[in-house]
């Protein structure tokens, strides 16, 4: 870890002052370098701080100690002039004046970036889709950016990490200080993302999770990306903020459609109505990435040069699209569908893809609880269904699988 220069230490010290907000920090550093700004603030002479709001706070701060603290924590302090500062943020109206980074933020430099975001209380469907998107996008050389939160964010990062060492590294944008892993259960994920890619934050070391920081974090997520994908989000979720921040920056927003009955998809479906483009899988996102990159007149992003994204991913798609009809060739690994007339077939037909309460399945099938339990467990073992507590859902069919049709149940 390189030593933190005095200028950086001043920037970090300013960012860490009591009562500092991103906007005030931008104002302090607008016309002055960090060192100059620090001296002015400490002397109570900064013209943008006429009330000397920060002077008292700055009195007890030793710049050298601040620099040491960041060095010991392994955290880089980035200002917009740094080469490592994300290029996409430089022209951004809401760009943070100081950005803290763990890992290597330069992974963003030569790759396209896609934000995969969504609600913390995600359904298994949302988590699965987020993980798949994360994995496939990372495999295609796209940096997956997300907020390291519970639910969709975490699933997207976990998916990106699953894609292996050769895939593009992920980038996490945190809302707390980089030494405050939040949520705490994601500490491992947090460290893994920092080790493979980078975790950045505009909050100084030690900053606790605060309500206001999360929307601020979301604007950075939107700012560093070429495309934002919202996987699942409630009617008034924080991801709506990310989508709005992206829209203000003319960054395309993709949305994964969900069940109209699932509250976790209420926000995303509303975004679809508002004109965001639908995302079925990573290919839909890659097309948008390619268009977005071309529009801002950047060279084709993917490390495998030569073929534009759309051309590379499009052609096989027409044949391998998931079977909409019965004519698709069966995939070799698909488990055999339960035979017609068995309890399993009845139960599978009665399951929805969104979590279905076991009670509903019991009513639809009229099976006794014992038979129902046995059929459900067998379907799960065969990979046709997912188990929850009191609720169950059918899996999306693998290529070649055909779901039995739901038949009306008598009585």
């Amino acid at each position: 870890m390189t030593a933190v220069s005095h200028a950086r230490a001043c920037a970090a010290a300013l960012a860490g002052l009591e009562g500092m907000t991103p906007r005030r920090l931008v104002a302090l550093l607008e016309q002055w370098g960090p060192e100059e700004a620090w001296s002015l603030v400490a002397a109570g002479a900064h013209p943008r701080d006429p009330e000397c709001r920060f002077r008292a706070a700055a009195l007890g701060v030793e710049v050298g100690a601040v620099g040491d603290r960041y060095r010991c924590a392994g955290v880089d302090v980035l200002v917009p002039e740094d080469p490592a500062y994300p290029a996409a943020l430089r022209g951004d109206p809401g760009a943070p004046a100081v950005l803290f980074a763990m890992g290597d933020p330069e992974v963003l430099a030569d790759r396209p970036a896609v934000a995969v975001v969504g609600t913390r209380s995600a359904t298994p469907y949302g988590r699965q889709v987020a993980a798949e998107l994360g994995r496939d996008l990372a495999s295609a050389g796209v940096v997956v950016v997300s907020g390291l939160a519970l639910g969709i964010d975490g699933a997207a990062h976990a998916g990106a990490l699953d894609a292996g060492r050769r895939a593009a590294p992920p980038v996490g944008v945190a809302a707390t200080g980089l030494d405050v892993a939040y949520p705490a259960v994601h500490r491992q994920l947090w460290n893994a993302v920092a080790a493979r890619g980078a975790v950045v934050s505009e909050a100084p070391l030690g900053a606790p999770p605060r309500r206001g920081r999360f929307p601020a974090r979301n604007r950075i997520v939107a700012g560093v990306c070429d495309v934002v994908v919202v996987v699942e989000c409630h009617q008034r979720g924080g991801s709506i903020y990310t989508a709005e921040a992206a829209a203000r920056r003319s960054i395309p927003v993709g949305v994964v459609p969900g069940s109209v009955r699932s509250p976790a998809s209420a926000g995303t479906n509303a975004l679809l109505v508002d004109g965001c483009f639908p995302v079925r899988d990573a290919e839909d996102v890659l097309v948008a990435v390619s268009l977005a990159r071309r529009r801002v007149d950047r060279p084709d992003p993917l490390p495998v040069a030569g073929v534009p994204v759309a051309a590379r991913v499009r052609p096989p798609r027409d044949d391998q699209r998931r079977p909409r009809g019965a004519s698709a060739p069966p995939a070799p690994l698909a488990p055999p569908a339960p035979a017609d007339g068995t309890a399993e077939a009845m139960v599978l037909a009665a399951l929805d893809r969104v979590p279905t309460p076991i009670e509903t399945v019991a009513v639809r099938t009229s099976l006794r609880v014992g038979e129902l339990a046995q059929a459900l467990h067998r379907l799960v073992a065969a990979g046709w269904a997912d188990a929850g507590d009191g609720w169950w859902s059918s899996r999306y069919p693998l290529p070649g699988q055909r779901r039995p049709e739901r038949r009306p149940v008598d009585g």
Binding site: T119, R120, S121, A122, T123, P124, G126, L150, G151, P183, E232, H234, S262, P263, A264, V354, P355, P357, I358, E359, T360, A362, V363, R368, V369, G370, E371, L372, A373, Q374, L376, H377, D386, A387, G388, D389, G390, W391, G411
Partner: protein, 508 residues
Amino acid sequence: MLATIPSAVLVGVEGRPVSVEVHVSNGLPGFTVVGLPDAAVRESRDRVRAALLSSGLAWPLRRITVNLAPSGVRKGGSGLDLPIAVGVLAATGVLDVREVAGRAFVGELGLDGSVRPVAGMLALADAVGDVPVVVPSQAVAEAALTARSGIESCSTVRQLVGCLTGAEPWPDRQAEPVPSPLTGVVGQPDLCDVRGQRVARRALEVAAAGGHHLLLVGPPGSGKTMLAERIPGILPPPDRGTALEATRVHSVAGLPLPPGGLIGCPPFRAPHHGSSFVAMVGGGTAALRPGEVSLAHGGVLFLDELGEFATSVLEALRQPLEEGIVRVSRARGTVSYPARFLLVAAMNPCPCGEGGPPGSCRCSPVARERYARRLSAPLLDRFDLAVVLQRTDADDLLGGDPGEPTAVVAQRVAFARYRAATRGVVANALLSPERLAVTAPLAPAARSLLDAALRSGELSARGLHRVHRIARTVADLDGAGLLVDERHVHEALVLRSRRSVLLGEAPR
């Protein structure tokens, strides 16, 4: 001058024999009660005096000393009014000592000379020993359940004096207490009122059949209380021993008893979530009153809004759940109350109450986690079964078939309990792991299913035994033989309780 009258007082749910010694002598008129009386006993002198005067009997203007022996035991309650009055009458010569001898008396007096019943008559009549006991006529049925040799009743002091002197006959024992029909009481809610809820009904049946404690998780309006109220109906009636214990507790608590005197159907207690520790386990300063866990003895203790109960109250349930009795220790001593009950609890799945699968309500996973943490793991561990309820569809509510009536389910439950009794336990929930291995051998497919669950970490060793016990109960309900089948284990796995029920999360 001196009369000694046998009587009894309550300590916990047990009676203690007490001799009431009344001494009347010359001296300044006065009335003293010694022998550790509590306030109610000390006040009895005013009641006794007024009752005797109202009955047209003379009050001696002499010095009266009443001693309650043994003197070391604290005595409470108003049941000593009657023996004191009789003692005064005998000591002043209104009654002949020989007329009084050989009888015990228990009862409270009214100022008008009436004789009133007191709480705990069952235990008091049991405690007086092998002498006939005279009780208030309203408490005859109750006292008759345990009185060992003869029982007489009276409703006023005047009548009592007449009977004792032989001037009038003892009143007929009012209609021999009907041997309480040990069946359900008319007017109990019936299971056929519950529409839909097939899974929850099954869980209810398994809980009643196996004595497995049950946790119902569901949004408001999903029928948690409605279901719980119907459990006493499907439980088998308590055996005579349990019924007597339950009656004794109810009688001590001063609660109304059924007409026959004996509690013939399982009690249902649903204390409010604001209940205090003492209200739940028993105690109190004056008399050690039985708590809700004891009032539910032989029946169902239903805790609605389980998450809202004070933690100390919930933790106090662990010992009675384990041992079937609750010990209340105070500086004055320790009393034990019976407390073997079926615990049924209900709670919302999350703070907003809607719950359901993740993503279907506004509560964040953190909020749900925090809500779930209100139940300690050891307490959650006491629940064998847990069901996640959903609101019933409007179609089911308006049109759906009525479910099976209580009588049909109760019959299956009774059969399962009978099978359990052949294994030497009241219910399968009490089977020890060793007995379980002998009485519930697993079919090969069932064994491999449990093996897989154990190996994947889905089940702990304790959870394994629990599923095994539930599977035994399910098999009993289905009328299966000795062998526990695969489908029974499947059903047990669906019905068993686990922490994740509260989080709505898929086990991952």
